[in-house]
Every structure is written in structure tokens, then in C-alpha cells.
């Protein structure tokens, strides 16, 4: 497999072609954020529903390259149903993986583990992170009690890649 083929392996292409939890709305949403990666033109709306401290539902929508779309899709599967603190830990896990570190929670990352190879393509790291950073922001927005519709323009939270 060439490096590129590794990047676009079947699992990723599958999430891209058949995205999970991609929808323009989410019933009973508690927070909604809009993130964009202006350097690439990617845009993402992300909505979360939180019940009893758990991430009960998540939906994303928007435009972007295969990596950003597939990564968001894989993310939704990995995080749904988990306690929010655990979700935030997993976000951090994924972020560190994008910086080339070995992930410790392989099983929990599930399909998201397939994005490991993206770390070798620095300009694509932002794409893979887009959904995850939006998720973290949505949870924090909820935790701050900052209303349900925070809209931010951001390209990766405190992430220092470009």
C-alpha cells in the first residue's frame, strides 16, 4: 500500500461514503456549535444531547474533505453513550494520536483508530481533528451552561497545528 492508500484505507472511505450520525438536526439537543477550518474551507455543525452526564446523542453536518467527514463519522460511533468526562478524555486521546503519540485506548477509539496514519500528513491533521474539537467545544459549552447555541469560528481549539 502506498502512503496515500494507507491514508484512504477502506474503513475511512466507508465512513466517508456512508457517514454515521450525519444530520442537519438532533432531537432534544443541548448544545450546538459551528466550527470551520478556514484554511481548507471545511465547515461543520455539531450538536450534542446530554442526559445524566452521558453523551446521549451527537449529530454532525457540513462540508469538507473525506478525512474531516469520515473522522467525524467514526467519532460519533466511538463516543455515543459514554460519560462526558470520559468523552473528553477520548478527545484528548485522539488529539494526541494526531500528534504522533501512541494511543492507549485503542479499543475505545474503535474505527477512529484508523486515522492514526493522518499524523504523517500535517496539513490533514486539522481535517481529522475538526469534528473532535467541535465535540469538545459543544460539551464545554453545555458545561458552562452557556445556552444551547454557541457558534464559534475556530479551527481546532487549542490545537497548535495548522
Amino acid at each position: 500500500m502506498s502512503e496515500l492508500e494507507q491514508l484512504y484505507q477502506e474503513l475511512i472511505l466507508d465512513h466517508y461514503r456512508s457517514p454515521r450520525n450525519r444530520a442537519p438536526g438532533l432531537r432534544g439537543e443541548d448544545a450546538h456549535v459551528h466550527h470551520s477550518n478556514p484554511l481548507c474551507g471545511d465547515e461543520m455543525d455539531l450538536r450534542v444531547r446530554i442526559r445524566d452526564g452521558r453523551l446521549d446523542g451527537v449529530a454532525f453536518d457540513g462540508e469538507g474533505c473525506s478525512i474531516s467527514q469520515a473522522s467525524a463519522s467514526a467519532m460519533t460511533e466511538a463516543v455515543t453513550g459514554r460519560p462526558v468526562e470520559d468523552v473528553l478524555g477520548l478527545v484528548e486521546e485522539f488529539r494526541r494520536m494526531m500528534h504522533g503519540e501512541d494511543p492507549a485506548r485503542d479499543d475505545d477509539l474503535s474505527d477512529a483508530l484508523a486515522f492514526r496514519g493522518v499524523a504523517r500528513f500535517p496539513v490533514r491533521v486539522k481535517c481529522a481533528l475538526l469534528g473532535w474539537m467541535a465535540l469538545r467545544d459543544a460539551i464545554e459549552t453545555f458545561q458552562r451552561g452557556a445556552g444551547t447555541h454557541a457558534v464559534t469560528h475556530d479551527d481546532g481549539g487549542d490545537d497548535d497545528d495548522r
Partner: protein
């Protein structure tokens, strides 16, 4: 016509294949490749006569000064300008900022307006917005027509009230490829307001079409070395010396002052007044060699080559399935950058697949977000040509696009 096969040998980077394939470099609009003669000129400076400029009395320092000033003179000659009007900067962006800080912020006042266009690169846009915000100026943008040209009728209305005292317009669009009628636009602006200053972003024009500033009759013109086959780290604002005379110094420090006491400073003559600190010496020498290289080819020949090759690329792309090309139809009105989108595939994915095949194109918003919104796209793919490209570069491009389509085509519903 250019002998492209021979020319390609002048560019060291093009001698390296990518994974056994010929490197197809279609990104000169982002940064041009560097011919050997430029590298040699810089190597001579660093390797045989390195020193600082302008104040040394020993021979190496005199040679460095002569080399640096020779770069300025070469650029002036290349653009048909007075060397006293050539301020060497680090890139075109600094050149635009220099006009924004030195002229716009100094001379424009609330009630005055700035004319710009929706197709400007951020470099020729944000500095003036920032100045407009600081000084309370109004911003007006010339819209574009369906085929990506400036709407001159609209421009005429925008200046009619005589309040536009400054205009910033690009000579050639880095996305659409459009060659703008800057002389005509300048005349139109000055007809409404004779003392208006017209600043032109020539970053994408100077490397590709013959430019004679004396004939264009604009007040200032920004260029950047790395697109002119020169090194990184250098650009220039090429202005009427009288414009510079009236400008406020912007970067201050050594070199740009005449005298300093603890009470204050008096400024040096133009253009030195705007070149604070140790300048990009090797880079000026390299830039001089680069414009010499282009002059030796002849800018008419460069332009003729790109017109011919551009037409081949335009029709090749238009004929391929699922590709939409932006910008003017005809090469008569456009330069060497061709932007397009591919149905159902994000530009990033196109770029990655092409890159893997040794085909280098740029994808994204190309630092033209407002234009992207006009085009209704978040990003485009851009293939751009220069002297080292030939028709053999088209096939790998089209093949790569086809491969990307095959890979990323989504079920029709979500396309």
C-alpha cells in the same frame, strides 16, 4: 517560442522525479521554481563575499552594497520603473502593508473611501481594511461578472461621488486568472477624484506578463520574489518616488534614519527610509538574477508560451467530465492560473491524490475567502503554469482527477 525541454534543465527541483514519475509542478502561482542561475548568484554572495551593506569601507562590503543595489536596479528595469521608487520588502504582503500604513493611515480621513474588488488576495485586502477600521474609512468593493471579470460599470458608480481617494486592485487574479484592466480602472478612479492613489497587486502579473509601469500609470505596485523565480524572503513596493516622499515611515530602526538624538530622529531619503535594518541582501542579489533570467527569455515569449499552453489546459479541463472551470473563457483575458472544482469530490482529496502521483496543485481558498463566497465554493483546485511547463503536464493532471473521482464518488444522494 520557449524551448521548454532545455529550460526544464535549468530548474534543479524538476530533475527529481516523485516515485519514478516526472515531477509535474503546477503550482508556480504559489511559489515558482528557482533556476540554477539564481542559486549561483546567492551562493557567490554567501560563499565568496559575504558582508553587510551600505556602511562598510572594505571591499567585501562595497561588493555587497553593489550587489544589493544591483538587485534593486534590475527590478526597476524589469518593471520600467525608477529605482528610487523601489522599496525592497520581505514579500508582497509587506509591500501592501507599507502602503496601508505609510499612505492610507497617514493621509485618509473619515469621509474618505477605499475602492477594492471582491477578487483580491488577502494581502491586498486585509491591510486596507485594518487601516479603514483605524481611520474610519468606508470600503467599497467592485463586483465581478459571471465570467470572473471586474464589473467596470459598477466601478464607475462606486467612485462617482468623488470620495474614493485610494484604490487597491490586483493586476492578475491568483484564483480566476483574470487580467484586470488596471490602467482603465486607474483612469476611471482618477476621473472622479484626480488626486486618488491607485495601488496594484502585481504578485501574479509580473512573473507572467510584460509589465511597464511607466505605461500603466499607477502609483504603486507590489511584487514578490518567490513567484518571480527568485528566492523567498524578498518582495518590493515599486512606487512613484513622490508617493514615497509623502509617506510616513513604518518600520523604523537602523538604515532608515538620517540622524538620531535622544530627542528624535530625522528620516533618510527614499527608498531607504522604508528599509529598516539589515535588508535581505542575498535575496536582492537572487531577485536581480531571477528577473535577469526572465528578461533573457523575454517576457513576450513567456506570455506567448503561457497563452498557448493555457488554452490547451483550459480545453482539456473543460472537456473532462465533472469539472467546472472558473474565470474568463479566453486566454486573451487571463493569466496562467486555472481554478476548477470537481463534482462530488472535495479539493483536498483531489490535491492529495494528485500529490501522490507527483502532480503538484494548490487546493483551498487561495487566501481569497471573499471571492470563494462569490463563487459559492469553499475551496477550489488550482493548476498554474510557468515557463517550465509543457503539454505533457496535462495528461497526468487529468488522469489524477479521474482517479480521485473514481475513489471519492459518493452515492448520488449525498453528492
Amino acid at each position: 517560442m520557449l524551448d521548454v525541454a532545455a529550460l526544464r534543465r535549468e530548474f534543479p527541483t524538476l530533475q527529481h522525479g516523485v516515485g519514478g514519475r516526472r515531477l509535474v509542478y503546477l503550482d508556480a502561482a504559489a511559489s515558482a521554481q528557482t533556476p540554477r542561475v539564481v542559486l549561483d548568484a546567492m551562493e557567490r554572495y554567501y560563499g565568496a563575499g559575504r558582508s553587510n551593506v551600505h556602511r562598510g569601507v572594505y571591499p567585501l562590503a562595497e561588493a555587497a552594497t553593489a550587489g544589493y543595489e544591483g538587485g534593486r536596479a534590475a527590478l526597476a528595469r524589469f518593471l520600467g520603473a525608477d529605482p528610487r521608487g523601489v522599496v525592497l520588502t520581505k514579500n508582497a504582503t509587506e509591500a501592501c502593508n507599507l502602503v496601508a500604513y505609510g499612505h492610507v493611515r497617514r493621509h485618509l480621513r473619515p469621509g474618505d473611501a477605499i475602492l477594492s474588488t471582491v477578487m483580491e488576495h488577502h494581502a491586498n485586502m486585509v491591510p486596507f481594511w485594518h487601516a479603514a477600521e483605524a481611520n474610519g474609512l468606508e470600503l467599497r468593493h467592485v463586483p465581478i461578472t459571471e465570467d470572473g471579470r471586474l464589473d467596470l460599470g459598477a466601478a464607475r458608480e462606486l467612485v462617482a461621488d468623488g470620495r474614493v481617494r485610494f484604490a487597491a486592485v490586483t493586476h492578475v487574479s491568483n484564483v480566476l486568472g483574470t487580467i484586470n484592466p488596471v490602467a482603465e480602472l486607474a483612469a476611471l478612479v482618477r476621473a472622479a477624484r484626480p488626486d486618488a492613489v491607485v495601488h496594484v497587486d502585481g504578485a501574479q502579473a509580473a512573473p507572467h506578463i510584460p509589465v511597464d509601469l511607466a505605461a500603466l500609470d499607477v502609483d504603486s505596485y507590489a511584487v514578490t520574489g518567490h513567484k518571480l523565480c527568485g528566492p523567498t524572503g524578498i518582495g518590493a513596493l515599486v512606487a512613484r518616488p513622490e508617493l514615497l516622499e509623502g509617506m510616513e515611515p513604518f518600520l523604523t530602526g537602523g538604515e532608515m534614519i538620517r540622524d538620531v538624538t535622544l530627542e528624535g530622529a530625522t528620516w533618510n531619503d527614499v527608498p531607504h527610509r522604508f528599509e529598516a535594518g539589515t535588508p535581505p541582501i542575498a535575496e536582492a542579489i537572487g531577485l536581480g538574477a531571477a528577473v535577469g533570467f526572465l528578461e533573457d527569455l523575454g517576457m513576450d515569449a513567456v506570455r506567448a508560451h503561457e497563452v498557448e499552453l493555457g488554452a490547451v489546459f483550459l480545453s482539456g479541463l473543460r472537456d473532462a467530465p465533472g469539472i467546472e472551470v472558473h474565470g474568463p473563457e479566453d486566454m486573451a483575458d487571463r493569466g496562467a492560473a486555472i481554478s476548477f472544482t470537481v463534482e462530488g469530490v472535495h479539493p483536498h482529496d483531489i490535491g492529495a491524490v494528485l500529490g501522490d502521483r507527483g502532480v503538484c496543485v494548490r487546493v483551498g481558498h487561495h487566501c481569497c475567502k471573499p471571492l470563494m463566497r462569490e463563487l459559492g465554493a469553499t475551496a477550489t483546485v488550482r493548476a498554474s503554469l510557468h515557463v517550465h511547463n509543457d503539454v505533457d503536464d496535462l495528461e497526468p493532471l487529468l488522469e489524477g482527477i479521474a482517479a480521485a473521482r473514481a475513489m471519492f464518488a459518493r452515492p448520488a444522494v449525498s453528492a
